[in-house]
């Protein structure tokens, strides 16, 4: 249910004029809440930024999320992080 919860919070923040990017771990559920900007990641539950102590991966995910924040032009923009 976490992906639904995060999607609903994203919508509430955007309605208050705060830009958001949501990381999605379970796209089938995330899609139901229609968040405005989503970064889908291939990691397991509990690791939205990637595995522990994998600094390069975590940094790449965060950078991609920030890039999505500034480049998305339309609601429901989805990007996908692909592990190298």
């Amino acid at each position: 249910m976490c992906n639904q919860t995060a999607g609903l919070i994203a919508r509430a923040l955007e309605e208050n004029e705060i830009a958001t990017v949501m990381i999605s771990l379970l796209d089938e559920v995330t899609k139901k809440t229609r968040p405005p900007r989503v970064l889908s990641v291939p990691f397991g539950f509990g690791q939205p930024l990637g595995p522990p102590e994998e600094v390069a991966v975590q940094r790449a995910v965060l950078q991609l999320a920030l890039k999505l924040a500034s480049e998305a032009e339309r609601p429901e923009t989805w990007w996908h992080y692909e592990a190298p």
Binding site: I9, R34, G46
Partner: protein
């Protein structure tokens, strides 16, 4: 990428039958400034809270929509996790908080000039919510108002 079939059978059946609401298209708030000048905050659904604070309810049916404030740069030595999900593997965040709240990664981006600043506080919800009315009508808008007061430009949401 996680899939419904990766869940425990009971969890999978619950989600397959869950009456997701039919939501309208979302609003997209454009960033008003470059990311290099933005104030960033994190909102997670990992059920994190300070150790001296009340935990989230351990009863799934209660659908605890409350939230806790997490200070910037908090460490897992100061925090606890209370979450009803069986799928949430806590080992990662217990070993490295950046897995859920990427404090160190954000500081590195600030140091390199790619991010403005990080907010003094972040927020955690507990994401296993079978009923979301209180979240949608009260607690999520409350957090939105607090982040607006803090002049946060951008929020990264990290479900678990």
């Amino acid at each position: 990428m996680a899939d419904l079939k990766d869940l425990e059978p009971a969890s999978r059946r619950f989600l397959e039958r869950y009456p997701f609401p039919d939501l309208p298209a979302p609003i997209l708030t454009p960033l008003s400034k470059p990311v290099s000048r933005c104030r960033l905050a994190f909102v997670t659904t990992a059920g994190l809270h300070k150790q001296d604070e009340p935990p989230f309810s351990r009863f799934f049916e209660k659908s605890d929509c409350s939230y806790r404030e997490i200070p910037n740069q908090a460490s897992m030595n100061e925090l606890a996790i209370s979450h009803t999900s069986k799928e949430f593997n806590r080992d990662g965040v217990n070993k490295d908080i950046n897995v859920v709240l990427p404090f160190d990664r954000a500081e590195e981006l600030i140091a390199s000039g790619n991010l403005g600043t990080v907010n003094r506080r972040h927020f955690s919800f507990m994401g296993s919510l079978p009923r979301t009315g209180d979240l949608r009508k009260r607690t999520a808008p409350e957090v939105a108002r607090k982040l607006k007061e803090d002049q946060v430009d951008l929020v990264l949401l990290t479900p678990v």
